[in-house]
Symmetry: D2
Subunit: 149 residues, 4 copies
Amino acid sequence: MSMEPQEPGFETRVRESFARQAFMATLGAALARVTPGEVEIELPVRAALTQQHGSVHAGAIASVLDSAAGYAALSLMPADAAVVSVEFKVNLLEPARGERVVARGRVLRAGRTLYVCIAEAIAFDGGRETRVAALQGTMMCLLGRGVSG
Amino acid sequence: MSMEPQEPGFETRVRESFARQAFMATLGAALARVTPGEVEIELPVRAALTQQHGSVHAGAIASVLDSAAGYAALSLMPADAAVVSVEFKVNLLEPARGERVVARGRVLRAGRTLYVCIAEAIAFDGGRETRVAALQGTMMCLLGRGVSG
Amino acid sequence: MSMEPQEPGFETRVRESFARQAFMATLGAALARVTPGEVEIELPVRAALTQQHGSVHAGAIASVLDSAAGYAALSLMPADAAVVSVEFKVNLLEPARGERVVARGRVLRAGRTLYVCIAEAIAFDGGRETRVAALQGTMMCLLGRGVSG
Amino acid sequence: MSMEPQEPGFETRVRESFARQAFMATLGAALARVTPGEVEIELPVRAALTQQHGSVHAGAIASVLDSAAGYAALSLMPADAAVVSVEFKVNLLEPARGERVVARGRVLRAGRTLYVCIAEAIAFDGGRETRVAALQGTMMCLLGRGVSG
């Protein structure tokens, strides 16, 4: 499986698409590292993201994992492609607490239409790093539908 | 499998716990119907929740599905129990657009420790209803850990 | 979502394809009811299918759930289509014991390329029926690749 | 997270339990490497395991992935523990063909009750190795229920 980008503008495409995901701004998430087949998103922890016990809500974690996985896929797609999520599965490993959560998405298999991705979420709490969630999911490459990114 | 609540205060417990999920307020989600083993959450659609193509972000959909499933489980748990998500899997069926999305969670199997739940998300767009996502997941019942709800 | 078959020969296509799944014969599984968008497979319980505690192995259950879901999808596909599994998720609800397990697959969303399906496995033990597993998964419709069924 | 076994007899326990999984013998699967938190199962490819297009059936692949993940978990559990599968999700990446498939399971998170595992299946075809499937799932540690392994 090649992790070579199909065109040199992959990082710009990913960053522009991420900037159009209003929900990422609502979460306060920021796009960090973008390399071919791997994307990292940072989510500062704050009260607005918590569930009833004070940890970050599983849905907020799933959201950044999903975007990290989707953009890892988009980074390998053709220039005019758009990416949509087909499905994902998330295992919650530990309560997500601390200063920030980093979601790292990676392409496991790049097909013509379907991309299988994994992602993990790491919580940074003081000096400690804890893996708090893992995702395995499928992303779809859409071509020629009048959408991109 | 019984869908009898284990204690009469189930609805109050669910509503109080939901009110403590700050992330639901951040999303703008509201708790609607609460019956034993079934819970409904309403999410008004707005620009702040969208992904790059203008639909509601899969993560926002997953968030209300997860909470609907979790509270469906909590509604059947003992009075002093707390609920946490173990894992969930979401299939995205159609783009989520319209006025609002309703997430309906239901318990499929209530065990002593683990609850298996399903949930579906319906988008209401004008007069049209579209099933936009389906979740299947596992919730855990925590007892005697100094947390509740 | 239409549950109308796209062509009248759907049942013959499903039965012929099932007959070519040598693994179903190895398991001892038989195709029961085939209707548009719904397929049922029967698996007689026997020692050869068990795990270390004497229940039917989760993998054997997953196998008939996967085939039931896949053939539910194939029943709605065009005449020259082939079906392959993209992914599935299985929750094990109770130990599978008794005389036989019946896997019932159903299409939740029929797209052009991707079909989202659910399936459940019921164990029949004396007069008792127990839901022992639930699947949610994605099937893919392949056209013009020189394979069918 | 520690990948230290809780007791020195872990390999014997895993091998004895695997030997009681009649279904693994039915598949023709053999237990290969057993180390703390990691287990490998080999499945020789043969016609009896195939689906309608001649590849190994997704259910057979899922079966060895599930057992590899479950025994990876068991290798870290106390001496009197039993393991059962809670749920797993499998993505099929490529058709499984060749001489044999090797399933490698690994523990991602070892809790008191729940173990989160991943597993991958590699097909060996002539000199070529292809990753054909990936699993992410949850295993449960049962103590004091009169079963072991």
